[in-house]
């Protein structure tokens, strides 16, 4: 089996800066693929979500507003009100009903989208499990935000991390461009006949959702071709009545859940296939994870979402100083890309796993727990430590990342890990 690993160079290549792109006719070369006819638009993360949904020919949107996801539902409402899209927008009275309505809509055979954040995701908790259990392909943007109490509207990932076992495919995007690209790909993956599972595309609250960035958008016709209308055999059809969601007792429940797990595990493969096709139309390459400097790195940081951008920038600086540091950015958190991860850490001496959420009382943050558990099987000698950071929107700075890299380099040298869990950026 050949594993698909997306590599990003840390030496800046001669890619044209975005300011060179004046209009849609400008051709931008990115590697061997021509990014022809792609317009560059100023979008914050939320707007990128809404625009991708608009182009994805979604039939039903059911959502409830919550900071920092609000812009998504506002834009979508505008698209519907202006007749830009013919989707049905159900502006429900709670997140619980939002996802419940999505289940109903999905079972009619419709393409369905919703978005939420923080408390909204928490309120959806039981519906998350119902959605994956009923095998409803729904795409949801989760704009990651801290959970109460105390109330805080800013970014961390305690919302999605708290629901990580819900059976959804979970993707984390680094910036608005990735958000846009993942939403479109997510519909294809989610609706694939062998998958039929919901997907959560995560974007960091405010850091991505409210930061204006340049986003390359595909022409409508390209998205339409990439994403034909949803087809499914399992839907409400009076000529072939199906009972969805009956009572499964001791004799069948387990088999159903085993099948669900199998479908979820198949996702990596389908995600790679879809990614390849998407590369052809967009020139942008996606997969389970992206690495930078991992060919010869002694130490690496493993992280997700917007943090990767800061890490990469620090990495470039340290590489210029001759330090062998690397970055592993997970796009796909569930199913966990075990084989892909192993393939990139073979020669590593120390690994730092960064969690933007606490798993109270657990040995590590959730992401680090996953990594530690699989290292135990295949690479016991790799030194690992966990960084907890960014709770409630606390910024993680380049100098903090640099310190983390230096700590890792020290561990690589001495082989001694003093603190297995470090709380970075907190006053204590």
């Amino acid at each position: 089996m050949t594993l698909h690993i997306v590599k990003k160079e840390y030496i800046r290549s001669e890619t044209p800066s975005l300011s060179h792109v004046k209009d849609s006719s400008t051709r931008v070369q990115n590697g061997s693929v021509t990014m022809k006819n792609q317009e560059v638009v100023g979008f914050n993360g939320d707007e990128a979500v809404a625009y991708a949904v608009k182009q994805s020919d979604v039939n039903v949107i059911a959502a409830y507003p919550i900071t920092p996801q609000t812009i998504i539902v506002e834009r979508l409402s505008e698209y519907v009100a202006d007749g830009d899209i013919d989707s049905e927008f159900v502006c429900v009275e709670s997140e619980h009903s939002a996802l419940s309505a999505c289940i109903g809509a999905s079972l009619t055979g419709a393409r369905v989208f919703t978005a939420t954040a923080s408390q909204g995701l928490a309120l959806m908790h039981e519906v998350l499990y119902a959605t994956s259990g009923l095998r409803c392909p729904i795409v949801m943007a989760v704009v990651n935000r801290a959970l109460s109490a105390p109330i805080n509207i800013h970014n961390d990932r305690s919302d999605m991390m708290g629901s990580r076992d819900c059976g959804w495919v979970q993707i984390y995007a680094e910036n608005s461009q990735e958000v846009y690209d993942w939403i479109i790909q997510a519909f294809r993956i989610s609706e694939h006949q062998n998958i039929q599972l919901p997907i959560a595309v995560n974007l960091d609250g405010f850091v991505i959702s409210h930061s204006m960035e340049n986003v390359y958008v595909l022409p409508n016709k390209d998205v339409k071709k990439f994403l034909p209308p949803r087809k499914t055999r399992y839907k409400i059809d009076p000529t072939h009545p199906i009972s969805f969601g009956g009572l499964f007792l001791q004799d069948y429940y387990y088999e159903l859940k085993r099948q669900q797990e199998e479908a979820l595990r198949q996702t990596s493969k389908i995600l790679d296939q879809v990614g390849k096709e998407y590369y052809k139309i967009s020139g942008r390459e996606y997969g389970s994870l992206e690495v930078c400097g991992m060919e010869d790195a002694d130490v690496a940081i493993l992280c997700m979402g917007s943090t990767a951008g800061t890490v990469r920038s620090v990495l470039r600086k340290l590489r210029a100083d001759g330090k062998k540091v690397g970055l592993i950015k997970l796009w796909l958190y569930r199913p966990f890309p075990i084989d892909e991860l192993f393939s990139v850490i073979e020669n590593l001496k120390a690994l730092v796993v960064m969690d933007m959420a606490l798993s109270f009382g657990a040995p590590f943050g959730a992401l680090c727990s996953d990594v530690a558990s699989i290292l135990q099987i295949k690479k016991k000698d790799l030194k690992i430590f966990n960084v907890i950071y960014g709770l409630g929107g606390r910024d993680i700075t380049p100098s903090e990342i640099e310190d983390i890299f230096n700590d890792a380099l020290e561990i690589a040298k001495t082989g001694i890990v003093k603190d297995y869990v470090k709380f970075v950026g907190v006053r204590e």
């Binding site: 039903v60 999905s106 009619t108 419709a110 199906i242 969601g245 009572l247």
Partner: protein, 308 residues
């Protein structure tokens, strides 16, 4: 409008052989509602007796598309189904209408599902919500709900030495629905099938949300003889415990007029859940129940503009 027997569908859309109890009121309520079908139909079911007992995998009693996901979200699921049909209909330009019924017990409706229902009514989705009311959480073993009447003994409002069963009134559920200014809302009883089935059909024909609140006794929870299910459903009406009326565009209309109510004791004494109130020490509870019934009946008569 009254639907005659001849007009009813001869199809049994709820197949026999399901696992609901002998003498189960909700099973009768469900079967009768489906008799009012005017064409293709989908049912979305809240968690409850009807849901669990009709779909024990690998079996299902439903000969129509049926969806269950959770307890409190039947109305929200119905809203999503309606949105899905609408959106896909626009694309295909088809006119194949499929009716949507959301079905929930009193727990899933009066209590945990009231928010989702309120939202769906306010947004105006085209669906019918049927609440089969057996006046407690029967599926989990007879716990009190917002629909349990005063004095009834349940496992969470037991008749104790000091507290004589449930305290407080049953919610005015139809009043809550009517406050959403929907086109049609009605009460019904499985003891009066023509009235009930006609109302379900009327509700289906409304272009928007409509609500039916149907009394469906539970022999197990009411601690009554299964043979008395329909008798109790009739007595509830004849004693004026459960008034039968409908509300069209905000206008109340009494459908079953009770000139000489049967003594309420006739209804209560058939049910073990009220046994304790015949103990002389709880005489005041019996009086309070009687007062509740009179007050409510007079209120309904006033709303329906009928002289006592």
């Amino acid at each position: 409008m009254v639907i005659s027997l001849k007009e009813l569908t001869t199809k049994e859309l709820l197949a026999p052989g399901h696992r609901l109890c002998a003498g189960c009121g909700p099973s009768i309520a469900t079967r009768m509602a489906l008799k009012a079908a005017r064409g293709p139909l989908v049912v979305t079911n809240a968690t409850g007796c009807v849901e669990v007992s009709t779909t024990i995998f690998p079996y299902t009693a439903w000969r129509i598309p049926w969806i269950h996901s959770l307890f409190e979200n039947a109305a929200a699921t119905a809203a999503g189904i309606e949105a899905g049909f609408k959106a896909l209909g626009k694309r295909k330009n088809t006119k194949n209408h499929i009716d949507i019924i959301a079905l929930g017990g009193d727990g899933g409706t009066f209590d945990i599902g009231i928010q989702a229902l309120s939202g769906a009514l306010e947004r105006g989705h085209d669906f019918v919500y049927i609440c089969y009311d057996n006046e407690a959480y029967m599926n989990t073993g007879i716990q009190r709900s917002g629909a349990t009447p005063r004095g009834a003994s349940t496992t969470t409002s037991p008749a104790g030495e000091i507290i004589p069963g449930k305290r407080g009134l049953k919610k005015d559920f139809i009043g809550i629905c009517v406050a959403h200014q929907i086109e049609y809302a009605a009460t019904a009883s499985i003891g009066f099938p023509n009235d009930y089935i006609t109302k379900v059909r009327k509700a289906l024909e409304v272009n928007g949300p409509a609500v039916i609140h149907v009394l469906a006794p539970c022999p197990l929870g009411w601690r009554a003889d299964p043979i008395n299910t329909v008798k109790l459903a009739k007595l509830a009406v004849q004693t004026t415990v459960f008034p039968i009326y409908e509300v069209e565009d905000g206008k109340y209309k009494l459908n079953i007029r009770i000139k000489k109510p049967i003594e309420v004791e006739e209804y209560l004494k058939l049910q073990g859940r009220f046994r304790h109130i015949f103990n002389p020490k709880f005489r005041d509870v019996l009086e309070a129940i009687k007062q509740d019934i009179t007050t409510n009946w007079e209120r309904i008569l006033r709303l329906c503009n009928v002289n006592p």
